[in-house]
Subunit: 280 residues, 2 copies
């Protein structure tokens, strides 16, 4: 089994994958991105690297004997002026900055390309840990009813299209109307806005759920990285926004803290539902 | 000159058009939408009508001798359950509710169709008062520089595309990255979010403007109604969000309070810029 180099940002996903590797007996080594990777990663084998220390990152992962890399966790988009790149970082910075203008996906492709050039295989989080993504059908006890189907289809369509435009990955639709679309503010901020800025007349309420959140990768997305993700905060905020459920494409939506997410959605009465991805 | 029936919601646009008709000696009569039309309209000839009193609205405008109608001003999307429609209103309510699922533009088309059936000509606000829209080039003293051109093109492209998807009319782009897209929350809320929710590293600031707001109708939009609009609040919020300027399509962006808007943009150092609309 090839040794995994986990390049880790913030949040619970890097921890989940590290725990999984440990339990499965798969060798791994973590490059902890300074300022992003959480303290829960400290007990695992690893080293700290700066966000733009691309040369150092490659070196520590090679020295540890890693054959593949998996880039996971949250990294907020940096102010390029404040980065402290090493030589390798400086070399790719112009390409990174050009790609950054096209969106996160393009940016990540440039970075991963450097690792591929060094002979690393690239793994998506869902490849490193196979039960991370949504399957087809309901994830918990609650299932969408017939009335929800139109909103599910419309929300997924909008989420894919705004992905294709390099805008974002999420959309909220209620009774056919697009209430909100996610760009750089992120899903949580979008859901908060539905709860506080959208008139109650055109959305659901915690007492009477209506509408859905869809998260989908763009049709041509590099799905090895930057898959859309949901977690406990997503479910909580979706309920607060009066939504009836959350939908995504099977195999293409990461579910963090899976057990707790299912329990929370069941308790709150929201569905989490996976549909077959569209043919490529 | 045909007599104008002004069906008036809130905001300054109905007042501007009424003042314009009065000064130009054009006969007009206002159907003031209850709960939306402001008290500044009271001095003009007119009558109050409920939002769903379609029959009454047609009757008062016919009795006043109007030959055309112009639907202007803000009307927030109603809770359909709270409407008190008259008979004509009840007759079209199913079609209105169906259209509402497709977006504001579809909804307005259904309503205007009722007036067209009764023989009224339909006028857009920019037809009732021709100097309301943006022209080609800068509106005030400030002009965009070369660096802004890519953001202008990208923001207009995104605004048109999200229009085509029936999502909304506005988008904010900074250095090629789509920071925010407008759906049902409206432009002001979107600009507020850029100021408070988007990391300062990827946007401009009031001291160092970067990025633009674009508002554009969707490629197939019924431009007689529901043209995108900017006003004093748009300029204020765009400056607070650190944007360098506001762009739109010539003849297809309404500018409210034109003189004050130009003065404010000049004072704050923002450009307002019109580009030729794309060929149909």
């Amino acid at each position: 089994m090839r040794k995994l180099g986990l390049i880790a940002g913030g949040g619970s996903l890097p921890v989940e994958i590290a725990e999984h590797c440990k339990q499965a007996g798969r060798p791994f080594f973590i490059a902890r991105l300074k300022g992003f990777a959480g303290p829960e990663l400290a007990p695992f084998p690893g080293a700290d690297v700066g966000l733009a220390e691309v040369g150092k990152c490659i070196k520590v992962l090679k020295r540890a004997g890693c054959q593949s890399v998996c880039l996971v966790g949250n990294v907020s988009r940096p102010d390029f002026k404040s980065l402290k790149p090493d030589l390798r970082g400086i070399a790719i910075l112009p390409a990174v900055m050009m790609a950054a203008r096209k969106g996160d996906d393009a940016l990540l492709r440039v970075i991963l390309n450097e690792f591929a050039k060094e002979g690393f295989a690239i793994e998506g989080a869902h490849e490193a840990k196979s039960d991370l993504t949504l399957g087809v059908g309901p994830l918990g006890r609650i299932t969408p009813n017939e009335h929800h189907q139109l909103d599910i289809l419309r929300a997924l369509h909008v989420a894919r299209q705004i992905g294709a435009l390099e805008i974002g990955q999420g959309a909220v639709v209620c009774d056919g109307l697009v209430l909100a679309v996610e760009a750089q503010e992120g899903t949580d901020a979008m859901l908060r806005r539905v709860a506080v800025e959208i008139p109650a007349a055109i959305r659901g309420t915690p007492g009477a759920y209506r509408g859905v959140l869809a998260k989908a990768p763009k049709p041509i997305q590099e799905t090895r990285v930057d898959l859309p993700t949901i977690g406990l905060a997503t479910i909580q905020r979706a309920a607060a926004a009066g939504l009836a459920g959350v939908v995504g494409e099977a195999g293409r939506l990461l579910v963090l803290d899976r057990e707790q997410v299912i329990e929370l959605a069941d308790d709150l009465g929201l569905f989490i539902y996976g549909v077959e991805p569209p043919p490529p």
